[in-house]
Amino acid sequence: MKKGISLLLALLMMTAVLAGCGDGGSGGQTGEKVLQMRLTSALQSSDWQATTLQNDMRITWVDVFEGLYGLDEANGGYYNLLAKDVAVSEDGLTYTITLQDATFQNGDPLTAEDVVFSYEKAKENSRFNYVTSFINSVEAQDEKTVVMHLDYPNSAIAHTFWTVKIYSKAEYTEATAGGKEFGIAGHTAGTGPYILKGFDATGADLEAYENYWGGAPNIKKVRYQVIADNNAAVIAFKNGELDYFPDVPTTEWEAVKAEAGENCQMVKANDIHWLAVNYLSPTNNGILSNPKVREAIAWAINKEACVMAATSGYGTPAYEYMPHEYVATAPDYTEGGFQTYDYNIEKAKQCMLEAGYTEADMAAGIPVGDIITYGDASTPRAKEAVVIQSNLAEIGLKAEVVVQEYAVIGPRMYSQDYDLAVFGDVGNYDFNNIRQQVHSESVGMYLINYAHEDSPFDWQMMEQLVADGIATADTNERKEIYTKLWAYVMDTDTILPILHTGNGAAWSERINVPSVCPTYYHISQWSWVE
């Protein structure tokens, strides 16, 4: 009897557990064609201001919301989006923007008031100071005309026009009435080609906005599914459960490529991994303050080996802070004008000798501190750090690799509490963004404090070049100025570019993908294969 009851209870428990396993459906499985996409973690928010991850921004910054300008990643520039026309005053201080005849997804027409409201919201958010701090005021001149006054001429304003997205003032105000947060649910407050219908921990569902001002998208339904693990994502792609696979792990590229055939492409990513050398570090009596030691480090780094270790060979050695292919104003290493470093162990050793160290010192090992980076040991940065450690050992410099969470490493880097740091930056589309690394006002953003009281560097000159760069609208002139700046930075041997990663994307036979962008793909430009 007791056995029978136990068995029954066990069966009941099993039934209860299994019965609870059927919820949380992935949605969109009704026979209608649904584009299956991947998210690596749950969407943070449906508000463009609150999304910080690239995967999330691909949804909120491109599919759902739009700015005055769009980003032309392939050619390194911008194009008009919600701004039909932009006129600039002679002194470069006033921008008059005429708006497109666009409508929000809720049906309301886009007005100048919406633009003013959105720029006000962006200005209130310190995260966007870097693109809004120079804006003095934004006014609605009439229904479709916005006038923007700047504190000083800023040629990088195109990046602001791309970054700041436009909300429907009415819907935003209604959604946030009573102190509620915007972005915690789906909405129709954007002008983009897709409406975010909803999202949860399993993914997000998008639906085409049929009255999109640029024309209704061909693909009507999109399901972004959270697939955290790369192996699972590769298998999902192979099994036809994923239609588009962006950021294919380079370790899996060959396998994915074999599966995708011609439907895949590896492009140079618009990113940079670099080694920061903290000249203010007190380690070993300030060894890194010695310019010859820093130069030795620069020559000692084997970028090809870093590329191999970190990107399975799909990256490229870096000499620039921003790839010149994607940033029109970026210095181009192929044109010369600044020092570039490639692995040269002889030169590195010679620098160490000139720095005052002997062959015996190098043989015994000279402590240089830690190479810190963030993430986990499997990230490309951590792998680079290990290669750099062994490169440094070749010239007798002993370093330890420390890999920890960003929440721990980040503050150490920004407060110059480190010796050497492998850092990554991504998504710079105007070279003026280098300001965050070289300007004294960028406290909390830069890794190298050039304006420190013990600084041997001409930081005033660096800041002047940053200011000169944005003061002119001439792209060639800007590039020339930034090349001067970058040449000086390179001479300090404090920022050492290591590599640009590769960005592979593969797609199923069900869809047509006209081109692959390094960062922001446009689903609205894709179509189903007939």
Binding site: M13, G24, S45, S126, A407
Partner: protein, 313 residues
Amino acid sequence: MYKFVIKRILFLIPTILGVTLIIYAVMNITPGNPGQAILGTGVSQEDIDAYNEKLGYNDPFLQKYVRYVKNMIFDQDFGISYVTKQDAFTEILPRYLITLKLAFLGVFLSAIIGIPLGIKAAVEQYKLWDTIPSIIAFLLAAVPAFVLGLVMLFVFCGWLNVLPSYGIGSFKHYIMPALAIAIPPAAQNFRFTKSSMLESIRQDYVRTARAKGVPEKQVIWKHVLKNALLPVITQVGLSLGTLICGAVVAEEMFSIPGVGSLIVERINYKDEPVIIAGTILIAICFTLVMLIVDVAYAYVDPRIRAKYTKSRK
């Protein structure tokens, strides 16, 4: 018996408060701040400081802790996530239920696989039913869940393509993650049950029962198993607690939106409300499981029951 249960429930209060204190202290001493993590790299120190101030992050530790506990107890307010701006509890709860579901399924599977096999192996010691499962259990106990998960992923999804590789859409989605987390504890349950059974089998009371002519089946089920089950109950309870906290590997691998993966994700942002609330919920569940184990222990072990029955008199 009631007294025992009430005493154990009351004991939960200092335990949970202790957990919140430890978590708060740990979050407080670790480097980094939410302002930096949330606002990212394009922000000045001034803005980061202002943001931290707005969040109350710069308040003294005790002030923050007391405020948190007060809000938690009186308003059931676990704070607002720094990342998603949602109520931390609302964000965690659905994920927490998914983790619980997975953990219970894992424990259930580990128990129905491990315990019967352990009993059979003990009863038929040195025979095939003992040798083969013992070798397999020895091997599986040493294999971590993520390796099992990977193997299953490649075999059942990549190769055979019979199971989905991610998500929680249907029962099929739970098969691999549940097995991945169930197999190592199943191996442990097997070994535990077997050794506990063997220990009981050699006891005098078993010899006496056999000498009295009690049928072998009855000896095993009534005399051996009942006594041997005591440590197994603890083992199963502990494995449930471990799975609630440790299902994160399976959650990550099979893209199951559980609380473990959420906490790991939010550590990167130092999203204190979510991390602390998630940890507290896990601690509460763990202590509740331990309470159930203790009660079951008291139920099965007459000595514990007798102790409380006596004190009632």
